[in-house]
């Protein structure tokens, strides 16, 4: 065990070490040398993670040390590696490694690859740390670490105003969720006396605290998860985050970081369960899934459609957790990470070759980049949940679990969202890869081999994973009962088929036109409403601009300048005015002085007389 502990620390440390050395080597020697450092680091990290996974026996790896002490508080840090952590770490390091390789092609024109790889490796390190740590404070540290990397990488092209704004939005919005989580950590620590996941879960299982307190703590922590995993209402940042490089979107905003919230809820599953917080998780997830699925249906940019889709699938994971099926959620997390990374990277290849993000300005790309198109199609099929691909198994499981749970609202929203995948997925594919080639498409050519290799790996994984479903689930959760409803499955597939048919007719055969629908004011309104994600972004912006900035901050500024500082300067002005009047007494005229003197004498006499 001792060896595994050190290897775990090494796995976290090697990425930070690698990130710094990649930066320094890239800065002081040839810039692209940082790529080799990154590849090497990523590979070593992945191998180490695999090693941990293979050697992880029945017992988790546990290590604990005291970070610092103040007063009566001892701040513990440590690692707790069980199968869940390892799977998350494998996703992070594996997809991270593929992403690093892909970036060589995607970022070929970039001026500062050392900065890029520094931030990327730093991110992977933080992500690995996030899944390995054993308590909430440690988790919060790495949680902020991945948030920082997300911020830096979204704003990677910082000279673009939109990128800077998107980075700001991502940071502040996730931070807004994080502070609630921070409050939750503090409350848990002070009132429950521990922040260790296992101890918290044990307390919950033992029923050692009131449900009300547990619910408060859970909700506070869940708000952090909502912010990080882009759920309603803190999701607009994820759409804007697509301003960053597509590789970043693939790794951070699809495969790993956004899953942190799901991971956190899964990690504290017994705690949430005991506190009756899961129903909230389920509702938020279902609502978010519905918003995201409909939004994806209306949007036109490749990456934003994928972002909506990411949000939807994260929401599905939350639904799975909410209805009590953690295994389905985590299994879907894994599958989603793979096929979404595939989709994003393939989209990255398309964008890199055409320099166009708007799907509707592309078309007929199949002719120019057939391999990418097919790989993209694999991703779409997995996303849509078509049987042989991995998406089908986990998504169907989630639908089944939701159905078994029995809440009609959650089930309805989830079902609609889940089947809509196929509609927006194929809409995207048909629009981008079929039809008449546009002027952007004509300059495109097949992606470089170094970009295609990671895509192939991921595509193979989407097909291979289902074969190991039982083993993976067993590795993660032991024996799990999967609810199975044949009629539900048939219904799902039928609806999906019908939806596919409609999309096929609209976007491939083009026999049905949406122009008339969109021209109608109502249709236009609905489209705009969905396109803008139910105007949540606008609402948040309005609140920030007009409530926090425009009202409160401006009011405080006014008070500060005119009341508080006004009082300070007012004292000066008052005394000046006072003594300006008083000095008029000093006329220099003897007679006036005499008058004062006599008046003074009289006053004195009066004083002596009457006082």
């Amino acid at each position: 065990m001792e060896k595994l502990v050190w290897i775990t620390y090494l796995t976290i440390g090697i990425f930070f070490l690698g990130s710094i050395s990649a930066f320094l080597i890239g800065k002081f020697t040839e810039r692209w040398n940082s790529f080799w450092v990154a590849v090497l680091t990523g590979l070593i990290g992945f191998i180490l993670t695999c090693y941990i996974a293979l050697n992880l026996g029945e017992h988790p790896i546990v290590h604990k040390f005291n970070w610092f002490t103040f007063g009566s508080f001892k701040i513990p840090l440590g690692i707790y590696v069980d199968s869940l952590s390892v799977v998350m770490a494998l996703i992070a390091t594996g997809i991270g490694f593929l992403d690093i390789v892909f970036s060589k092609g995607y970022m070929e024109d970039d001026e500062s690859p050392h900065r890029y790889y520094f931030e990327k490796l730093f991110f992977i390190g933080s992500m690995v740390g996030l899944v390995f740590v054993s308590n909430l404070v440690g988790l919060y540290i790495f949680w902020e670490g991945v948030g920082l990397c997300s911020y830096l990488l979204i704003g990677y092209w910082y000279w673009k105003r939109s990128a800077a704004e998107a980075a700001l939005k991502a940071f502040v919005m996730t931070r807004f969720g994080d502070v609630f989580m921070f409050a939750g950590i503090i409350v848990a620590w002070v009132l429950l006396g521990t922040i260790n996941f296992q101890e918290l879960n044990a307390l919950a299982l033992a029923g050692a605290f009131s449900v009300k307190l547990g619910l408060l703590i859970s909700l506070l922590i869940f708000i952090g998860a909502v912010g990080k995993s882009a759920q309603f209402p803190l999701f607009p940042w994820l759409l804007d985050a697509m301003e960053g490089p597509t590789t970043v979107s693939a790794l951070i905003h699809a495969a790993t970081m956004v899953n942190a919230g799901v991971y956190l809820v899964a990690r504290m599953f017994p705690f949430f369960d005991y506190s009756h917080a899961l129903i909230v998780v389920g509702f938020v997830g279902a609502l978010s899934a519905f918003i995201a699925a409909t939004g994806a249906l209306a949007h036109t940019e490749i990456k934003k459609i994928l972002a909506f889709s990411t949000m939807e699938h994260l929401a599905l994971m939350f639904v799975a957790l909410g209805v009590g099926s953690a295994a389905a959620g985590i299994f879907h997390l894994m599958n989603h990470a793979i096929f979404k990374a595939l989709l994003f990277l393939a989209a990255g290849a398309v964008i890199h070759m055409t320099h166009q993000k708007d799907a509707f300005k592309l078309g007929g790309l199949y002719k120019y980049m057939p391999q990418t198109a097919l790989l993209f199609l694999v991703g779409i099929l997995a996303l849509a949940g078509v049987p042989p691909f991995n998406g089908f198994f986990s998504k169907d499981w989630i639908i089944g679990a939701t159905y078994a749970y029995g809440n009609p609202v959650i089930f309805g929203l989830t079902f609609v969202a889940a089947v809509l995948c196929i509609a927006y997925g194929f809409r995207l594919w048909f629009v981008v890869f079929t039809g008449e080639p546009s002027e952007y498409s004509k300059h495109a050519r097949e992606a470089y081999p170094i970009m295609l290799v990671p895509l192939y790996v991921l595509a193979v994984l989407t097909v291979v994973i289902p074969f190991f479903k039982e083993q993976i689930i067993h590795f993660l959760f032991g024996e799990v009962h999967e609810p199975f409803f044949l009629n539900l499955l048939v219904a799902t597939l039928t609806v999906m088929f019908i939806l596919f048919g409609i999309v096929f007719l609209i976007y491939y055969k083009r026999v049905i036109s949406t122009v008339k629908f969109l021209a109608h004011p109502l249709g236009k309104g609905i489209n705009e409403f969905l396109y803008n994600g139910w105007y949540v972004d606008a609402a948040i912006k309005w609140i920030c601009r007009h409530v926090f900035y425009g009202s409160i901050a401006k009011a405080v500024e006014w008070v500060d300048i005119h009341v508080v500082d006004g009082a300070v300067n007012g004292t000066a002005r008052l005394s000046l005015a006072c003594w300006d009047r008083c000095r008029k007494i000093q006329t220099g005229d003897v007679i006036d002085y005499l008058t004062y003197f006599v008046a003074g004498v009289i006053t004195l006499v009066l004083l002596i007389l009457f006082v």
Partner: protein
């Protein structure tokens, strides 16, 4: 309260004091001032303090008046009407007067016996001891007054 002589003296003192301040001609003011000081000397005599009264006559009615007269001679007359502060001054002085009187009644002075003096004694003392002195002083003062008048008139004519 005092008898009629006292109030006559009172009236002369205050009247001459007011004239000394209010007279248009500085010279007449000076004359009035001399009268005031002499009357106060008289009060001293009346209080059976002949030495004090004599000194008052000599130094005040004599020396100080002469100084004043010389000053008037050198400077000349310059009368200006009071500039609006009279009201304030009157109010203050009246306040002082009322307060002082009130204060005097409030205090316990009147419980003590108070000496009174006869005219005979006063006259005897005055004639025996100070008549010569007074006559000489009167001459000098009259001469000075005359001189001062002459000089002032000359100055006026020169202008």
């Amino acid at each position: 309260m005092g008898n009629v002589y006292f109030w006559i003296i009172y009236a002369v003192v205050i009247g001459s004091a007011i004239i000394a301040l209010e007279a248009t001609s500085l010279l007449w003011a000076a004359v009035s001032f001399v009268v005031l000081l002499s009357e106060i000397a008289l009060v001293y005599f009346g209080l059976n303090m002949p030495v004090l009264g004599g000194v008052q006559l000599a130094i005040y009615a004599g020396g100080v008046t002469i100084l004043v007269l010389f000053a008037i001679m050198m400077i000349g007359e310059s009368y200006k009407k009071p500039e609006g502060k009279a009201v304030k001054a009157i109010v203050l002085s009246l306040l002082l007067l009322i307060l002082g009187t009130f204060f005097s009644f409030l205090s316990a002075i009147d419980t003590l016996p108070f000496k009174t003096f006869s005219t005979e004694v006063l006259g005897t003392v005055f004639v025996e001891k100070y008549s010569f002195f007074t006559i000489v002083l009167g001459f000098i003062v009259s001469a000075l007054l005359y001189m001062a008048n002459a000089i002032i008139t000359k100055k006026r004519e020169a202008k």
